[in-house]
């Protein structure tokens, strides 16, 4: 397994390089540059700005310069947030996004798997329909609608929670609604997949055998059915976690959170090349790491898989 992990990590390098190259070309190809603003800057000032950010060099040189800095752990200076380096910005924003996204992921796994099991075991019952109804709502209602509704109810009507903002990790009240929103969206997906998967497993031969041996349902489910039924859910964790980051673009705007979602939006809109590239590198690393974890989890869940 260790050699497998090492191999996977090594493969990450060309993946990362490919992603950076494609992204580099795309952000530079987008019409309008970081210094195109309402007021056109004069040629001389533009030259000053370009020199400051090394944009006066040929594209290939800039690219190599970027890669060289990257290898040394420097993501460069931000164009949009002129007083900060991309490293500073990421270091401040990432913990916020990771906390919200990570907690939401854990909670939604517990609730989603639980609801999925409950629904699968009582297929077509009232409980099943109720769970599926919630899951459908979660899939259908976009977060930019659900978020403001949550604020309206819990912040403005009931006054239980703040309407948004962030007050550090010591103030969990600010995290409740964003986590709840992401959880709701994830639970919808996880619940449905878990239900479908468990229903399928419960109809397979080895479960019939277990039942024939006279095992109680609880044992059949927990000891025999759960592991294989969890496989599709595990495969889902990687993409879901990544989509938590993209969903964060909406949640962070709705709840005014200082996370990486807002950096991405502002970075892209302002043609902040270094910020966008830095965040793409970061998200790629997270995605690769998650996929690796998912693959390792497969081995733990399915005895047929060995690395």
């Amino acid at each position: 397994m260790w050699s497998y992990t090492l191999r996977r990590l090594l493969v990450t390098i060309p993946t990362l390089l490919a992603v950076i190259t494609v992204c580099y070309v795309l952000v530079h190809a987008a019409p309008g540059g970081p210094f195109d603003d309402e007021r056109k800057v004069s040629e001389a000032v533009l030259a000053n700005l370009q020199a400051k950010y090394h944009l006066d060099q040929p594209a290939w040189k800039q690219y190599l310069f970027y890669l060289n800095n990257l290898v040394h752990g420097d993501l460069g200076a931000s164009f949009r947030y002129a007083d900060w380096s991309v490293n500073d910005l990421v270091a401040a924003a990432l913990p916020v996004s990771l906390t919200i996204g990570g907690v939401a992921m854990l909670v939604s796994l517990v609730i989603g798997v639980g609801l999925g099991i409950a629904a699968a075991l009582r297929q077509n019952s009232l409980a099943d329909h109720a769970v599926m109804a919630i899951a459908n709502v979660g899939s259908v209602v976009p977060s930019f609608v659900l978020g403001p509704v949550l604020i309206l109810v819990f912040a403005l009507s009931l006054r239980w929670l703040p309407a948004g903002g962030w007050d550090g990790f010591g103030s969990p009240a600010y995290m409740v609604m964003p986590i709840a929103l992401l959880t709701f969206i994830n639970v919808a997906t996880i619940g449905r997949v878990m239900r479908g998967s468990l229903i399928e497993v419960m109809h397979s031969n080895f479960i019939r055998t277990a039942r024939a041996k006279g095992l109680p349902t609880r044992v059949v489910v927990l000891r025999h059915a759960l592991k294989p039924a969890l496989l599709p859910v595990v495969s889902l964790v990687g993409p879901l976690a990544i989509s938590s980051i993209t969903a964060a673009i909406v949640t962070e705007t709705v709840f005014s959170l200082p996370g990486i979602g807002r950096l991405i939006v502002n970075g892209a809109a302002n043609r902040d090349y270094t910020l966008v590239l830095g965040l793409v590198v970061l998200i790629t690393v997270i995605a690769v790491a998650l996929n690796l974890l998912v693959d390792l989890a497969y081995a733990a869940l399915d005895p047929r898989i060995r690395y």
């Binding site: 987008a30 019409p31 309008g32 540059g33 210094f35 195109d36 603003d37 309402e38 007021r39 056109k40 800057v41 004069s42 001389a44 000032v45 030259a47 000053n48 700005l49 020199a51 400051k52 949009r80 947030y81 002129a82 007083d83 900060w84 910005l89 401040a92 924003a93 403001p148 604020i151 309206l152 912040a155 403005l156 006054r159 703040p162 309407a163 948004g164 903002g165 962030w166 705007t253 709705v254 709840f255 005014s256 959170l257 200082p258 996370g259 807002r262 950096l263 502002n266 809109a269 302002n270 043609r271």
Partner: protein
């Protein structure tokens, strides 16, 4: 310059110097025991370095942190800042006398050298400030310094003695006291800039000379300022703590306000003004601004080369309906380049502005027929994606379709793409807007001048340009005003742009926030002018 105009300038300067200082709480107002304010700023500042700050949001904060030679008070009037008085010694030379009790937050005195350093640093190409050339043109050799053709030391600013700054201009700049209220041209604490380099604007490092000091800054969350005990006018500063939020989303902004987590909404989201007025009659504050929403014609584009076509399209848009029903947020119909409240030129409206619409339409149809434009002709209109701009564009589309049979294709794009198109002239008609950097007509005339980097219509009226140059050189304020007004009228008769509405800024401010004046047409609310009334 004649003797009388020198005398007038001196009299004006001393009058300004003696005018009341801000944040004086009116008699009968009881202050709240806690003087703190949370104000949303509409966006995260791009920088807190006064030389780099460019957007309204960043300047709002640097205006609290730093004080320039002069300042603009709550009513939009120029008042003394670090300079307690100033005078124009000859048409192109000004001296500013600094107050001797002005201090940096670390206790150092604010000296003429700090101002000279601040201005030189701002113009220095190494600083790469986007405004260097914009303001640089008003300083002797300023533009050359910004362009790297002369060293910063040659810019027209010098310290005469420890507390006197002399500024030389390349031509008479009547509004220089107003111009130097911008912090880009203000003092900077050299020792801390040199010590901390790029990090000098971080909390703990920054040394500032304004009414506030930087306490905390978390990107996309807040910038927290605290009262500066070293500030020379600290006794008249009421707010002890000001928290700037960087919430961009208008709806989130209002929700935070309603939840009590924000006391100052940056701007009401489009379409909510009327409802908010009913819901919060005492809290909706809406002041006209020195700003204009307009559309550009690409006058070099063959489809808009004919002035008759541009005139016809300009005439038939019903600004009253646009302001009252479409944008519906208190904006003012506009028929010229100079907006109400702008100094240095008179508001000149088109002679047809007051005609009944039927007559305008008839005339417009005639003009189009003469120009050979047939009903069914299609033009393309470019705008940056936004609900507000879209509403206005759809209105223009329906006006031209219904009244003239002209079709308009709407092309929405990202902001950066639009500005690039505008600067390159790669459009037919485009949305545009401008908010004054300083209160003088020349600021707005730059939008329609030849060779101006803000001219997005590519029209050049030689005669008008000449009048502006003459006006700029004139030392007689009345003559200057007359020349600039005449120029504005002459150029606008080329119909290079379609003036639509004058900006107003509808926002919510808690009723207990005092000192918020509706006369502040540049939307420059220093926190030192605000106070919290007992509630």
């Amino acid at each position: 310059m004649t003797l009388t105009s020198v005398a007038r300038a001196c009299a004006l300067a001393s009058l300004l110097a003696s005018s009341a200082f801000a944040a004086v709480v009116p008699a009968g107002v009881t202050l709240h025991p806690t003087q703190t304010l949370i104000r949303n700023n509409g966006s995260e500042p791009e920088s807190l370095d006064p030389a780099i700050a460019e957007t309204v949001g960043a300047n709002n904060i640097t205006r609290d942190l730093f004080e320039a030679l002069t300042a603009v008070d709550g009513d939009g009037k120029v008042v003394p800042g670090v300079a307690e008085s100033w005078k124009q010694v000859d048409p192109t030379t000004w001296t500013f006398k600094l107050r001797q009790n002005a201090k940096w937050s670390n206790g150092d005195p604010v000296t003429a050298e700090d101002v000279v350093y601040g201005i030189r640093r701002f113009l220095d190409p190494k600083t790469a400030s986007k405004y260097a050339a914009t303001y640089g043109v008003f300083l002797l050799h300023g533009k050359e310094v910004a362009m790297g053709k002369k060293p910063p030391a040659e810019a027209g600013v010098r310290a005469v003695d420890k507390f006197t700054v002399e500024i030389k201009t390349p031509f008479p700049v009547a509004f220089l006291p107003q111009l130097v209220s911008n912090n880009n041209l203000g003092p900077v604490h050299k020792a801390s800039v040199e010590k901390f380099g790029k990090d000098w604007t971080k909390p703990g490092n920054m040394v500032s000379n304004g009414a506030y000091v930087l306490r905390d800054w978390v990107v996309n969350r807040s910038v927290v300022l605290e009262k500066n005990p070293q500030y020379w006018d600290a006794k008249n500063v009421q707010l002890t703590r000001v928290t700037y939020l960087g919430v961009e989303d208008g709806n989130a902004d209002v929700k935070l306000y309603e939840a009590g987590q924000n006391e100052f909404v940056y701007q009401l989201p489009p379409g909510t003004y009327e409802d908010m007025k009913k819901k919060y009659p005492k809290e909706v504050r809406n002041a006209p601004m020195l700003g204009l929403r307009y559309y550009d014609f690409q006058t070099q584009n063959p489809v808009f080369k004919d002035v008759r076509v541009r005139k016809a399209l300009t005439m038939v848009l019903d600004r009253d309906i646009l302001a009252q029903k479409v944008t519906a947020d208190g904006q003012i119909p506009a028929y010229g380049i100079i907006v109400k409240g702008m100094e240095g030129a008179d508001v000149v409206e088109y002679e047809w502005a007051k005609w009944p619409m039927a007559r305008k339409v008839e005339e417009a149809k005639k003009l189009l027929a003469e120009a050979g434009v047939k009903p069914g002709t299609k033009y393309t209109f470019s705008y940056n994606t936004s609900e507000y701009h879209k509403k206005m564009a759809i209105f223009a589309q329906s006006e031209w379709k219904n009244k003239l049979g002209i079709n308009l294709e709407l092309e929405a794009m990202e902001f950066k793409v639009l500005v690039k198109k505008r600067h390159d002239g790669a459009f037919e008609m485009a949305r545009d807007g401008f908010i004054a950097d300083y209160n003088d007509a020349t600021n707005f005339l730059a939008l329609i001048r030849c060779d101006s980097d803000q001219n997005n219509n590519f029209n050049c009226n030689k005669k008008g340009e000449e009048l502006i140059v003459q006006g700029e050189r004139s030392t007689d304020p009345a003559k200057r005003k007359q020349l600039l007004t005449q120029a504005a009228k002459l150029i606008m008769d080329d119909y290079p742009i379609i003036p639509l509405v004058q900006y107003s800024l509808p926002r919510l401010v808690k009723s207990y926030v005092g000192g918020y004046s509706l006369l502040n047409a540049q939307d420059r609310f220093r926190s030192k002018d605000l106070y919290i009334i007992k509630h």
